[in-house]
């Protein structure tokens, strides 16, 4: 066991996967010589050579389209889109091609590829470096979508994603690449290396897709969340003293419905929390699942806490970002109903 940042854990997962399987190739803008603008692929080109880890032209469409063809050939491409906000030019290749290839050819051609992309705000990235597009992927059948919240999960989920026979989207909350973030931007930054959740077993097994983790056990209410918001929910529980159960979904599709039902049936109250904009967000799916499967256990309507329905505003990040105050207030309100 060792402490590492999420970035180091992602590097480690690449390293392990590339060492185990020489079909794994890594490419994207700046990922080769430089190791990625966030350094998630640092050292890979040096260790595995230029044909296993290389830079690409600035063409998200090209990166994903080439990866689809390469996966169909028999490789396992694990590609990086520099920011999730840049994936729109490639969206057709992801949605109409990667996600459909197995289905449309009845299994004759498959697309075992991974698309990693940093998501989320809190880094003063404004509108084009802060988006959380998970709903655009979870709505697409044929894709799997994961969001880690700790270095160990980032490593373990990426290993599973690379091993998976289908295309997997890995959304990496960039705000917690280097340390957990509890929504208090005015507090000193804590590194994963000094945090209990920063512990990673570099010989550890992959974390299976589709399995949630309970980050905090509680009786009063359930918070269903993922990514950066896991840490915000933990902070809110601590600051309000409310005995909340925090469920970190880790995989958004396929989602761990059993764990959701177990927790909500136990607490009878549920908050759905995400950073992405509210309307038609992934939270709507969670609320639907909870009402469909846990209706008779609910003691109050399910509450959504999310980013406002505006583009991400540069100067107003901390108002936009659902921080512990908003989550705590929602918790208090929910207990009063």
């Amino acid at each position: 066991m060792t402490h590492m940042t999420m970035i180091e854990a992602i590097q480690n997962a690449h390293d392990v996967a590339m060492a185990e399987d020489d079909r794994v190739v890594v490419f994207g803008q700046d990922v080769g010589f430089f190791g990625g603008v966030f350094r998630c692929t640092a050292g890979l080109q040096k260790k595995y050579g230029k044909s296993r880890c290389f830079d690409t032209p600035i063409s998200e469409l090209g990166i994903i389209g080439a990866a689809v063809g390469m996966a169909a050939y028999g490789m396992k491409p694990c590609v990086e889109i520099q920011f999730a906000d840049y994936m729109y030019p490639a969206y057709d290749q992801i949605v109409s091609e990667a996600a459909r290839l197995r289905y449309r050819s009845a299994g004759e051609f498959t697309c075992p590829m991974v698309v990693r992309m940093p998501t989320g705000g809190g880094i003063y990235g404004a509108q084009t470096h802060s988006q959380s597009p998970e709903a655009l992927f979870t709505h697409v059948t044929g894709l799997k979508t994961v969001v880690p919240s700790t270095p160990a999960d980032a490593r373990g989920l990426l290993l599973s994603a690379i091993a998976d026979p289908d295309p997997v989207i890995v959304l990496e909350p960039k705000r917690i690449y280097n340390g957990p973030f509890d929504g208090h931007h005015d507090r000193p930054v804590v590194s994963w290396k000094k945090h209990p959740l920063g512990e990673v077993d570099t010989a550890g097994a992959p974390i299976p897709l589709g399995k949630a983790a309970v980050r905090r056990e509680g009786e009063a209410l359930t918070v269903l969340t993922y990514g950066t918001m896991v840490h915000v929910a933990l902070a809110a529980a601590e600051e309000t003293g409310i005995d909340a159960e925090i469920v970190d979904l880790r995989t958004l599709l396929p989602v761990d419905l059993d764990q959701i039902v177990r927790s909500v049936e136990k607490t009878g109250r549920c908050i759905v929390l995400h950073e992405a904009t509210l309307t038609c967000g992934y939270g709507a799916e969670l609320v639907s699942l909870v009402q469909e499967h846990c209706f008779y256990s609910l003691e109050a309507p399910v509450v959504r806490v999310a980013g406002w329905d505006t583009p991400y505003p540069h100067a107003q990040e901390w108002t936009y970002f659902p921080g512990p105050a908003r989550v705590g207030e929602a918790m208090t309100r929910l207990l009063q109903r």
Partner: protein, 420 residues
């Protein structure tokens, strides 16, 4: 402070600006006349060595490589010594494709399927090209390259099952008619979204190069779809990584009702799109079986020798409608396909075989009848399984398969809910 603008420079035109919207030369009611089209005589375009510096053959992107002359003779540096059996097979492939198209067009009109797209006039492009590929190579076709399957020996009956979406369809009734797929025959599953396969072909070829394999890929696109971003991404990636891929552009003059000048703009030719990327670019007579085969082999050899991609534009003409949903008389003169100066690919190869004493009118009539019989008997077999309208479709249970390698719980629940 008030904003001030400089006065217009001397000589600036005061006239209002206008938008240029290119128009085809002929519309319904016009008499098509291609006498001014610049078509080099067969045999006059040189054949460079495959390792030529692309800078030295820029002119080949603006001419048309042709082998068969009006007398049916194979002439010039691109004429290869071909076994007459190869040529006879080529002719039979084209006749089979033409007969297959005719039957499937009729089947669609009879309500046996929803849709069909025929190849009339373009048969040489795909039937000849396959002759340059080896087992294991992969085509990334668009929807007018069924000749690749036919010339590689793929069963017509299986193609028809795909068109009928019946229980014999390997794609399990999930794809539009003519969206075939066969890994074994080097035919990548067709997508309805234009041009997506172009960059995928480059990625596939990059995979082969990364593995140190010997297989090459062929990308296919129509001239209209070259306007899509994917085409340009493919050229960037192919030239950057010198991927072992043949980048084919089938210029059949018409993207549904839109003439080729709309996608081409002022660039001269579609082949010329390759020049800015340093990719060798050739333009070839797409109705000349021998020229297509020769150029395809040249490009394939370049790819196999690790010399990188080649862009090939096939100049041809879509004599039929875009699909069974299209009426071309609404946007072009009826007589245009007959006036098209590059002729009928079937008749041109026939004339060549006759000219070299390896074919006759009688044999041709017999070959046409054989192609027809082969197609009819395959059709009988396919229809015995079912058609889109008559039933015996794949099980609705199949609808839930292959979304993922392993069915996730939410899909299992939905399948159960559907009753299957």
């Amino acid at each position: 402070m008030a904003t001030t603008f400089a006065t217009p420079p001397p000589g600036a035109s005061p006239a209002p600006l206008t938008l240029n919207v290119p128009e085809p030369e002929f519309r319904p009611g016009d008499t098509p006349d291609f006498s001014n089209a610049v078509i080099p005589r067969a045999g006059t375009v040189r054949r460079p060595p495959v390792d030529v510096d692309p800078q030295e053959i820029r002119d080949l992107a603006f001419t048309i490589i042709r082998v068969l002359n009006r007398k049916g003779e194979a002439v010039g540096e691109w004429a290869e010594a071909l076994d007459p059996d190869v040529l006879r097979k080529g002719l039979r492939d084209m006749l089979t494709l033409r007969a297959y198209d005719a039957r499937m067009m009729k089947a669609q009109r009879q309500g046996k399927t929803s849709f069909y797209m025929q190849h009339l006039g373009e048969e040489a492009v795909s039937c000849a090209f396959q002759g340059a590929l080896a087992r294991g190579d992969m085509n990334f076709p668009t929807y007018r390259q069924a000749g690749l399957l036919i010339s590689s020996g793929y069963p017509l009956m299986k193609m028809m099952c795909q068109v009928y979406s019946n229980d014999g369809d390997t794609a399990r009734g999930r794809q539009l008619p003519v969206f075939y797929s066969s890994k074994e025959h080097g035919f990548f599953s067709i997508s309805g979204n234009l041009a997506t396969q172009y960059i995928q072909a480059v990625g596939w070829a990059m995979g082969s190069a990364i593995r140190g394999d010997t297989k090459i890929a062929a990308a296919w696109i129509g001239e209209g779809a070259t306007a899509e971003n994917d085409f340009h991404a493919a050229l960037v990636f192919a030239s950057t990584y010198k991927a072992p891929v043949i980048l084919n552009v089938v210029n059949n003059q018409w993207a549904i009702s839109t003439f080729q000048g709309i996608a081409r703009g002022g660039s001269g030719t579609f082949a010329a799109r390759g020049l800015g990327f340093g990719i060798p670019a050739l333009r070839v007579d797409g109705n000349d079986y021998l020229a297509v085969l020769a150029v395809a082999r040249w490009a394939a050899e370049r790819a196999r020798r690790n010399l990188g991609p080649t862009l090939v534009e096939y100049v041809t003409y879509r004599a039929g409608g875009h699909s069974t949903s299209d009426d071309p008389t609404a946007y072009r003169p009826k007589e245009e396909s007959n006036a098209w100066p590059l002729g009928d690919p079937v008749l041109r190869l026939k004339a060549h075989l006759v000219a070299i004493g390896e074919w006759s009118d009688e044999r041709h009539v017999q070959a046409e009848a054989e192609a027809h019989d082969t197609v009819v008997s395959a059709q009988r077999e396919a229809e015995a399984i079912g058609t889109l309208m008559s039933g015996n479709l794949p099980s609705p249970r199949d609808m839930f398969e292959d979304v993922y390698a392993e069915m996730p719980p939410h899909l299992k629940r939905q399948r159960q809910e559907s009753g299957y």
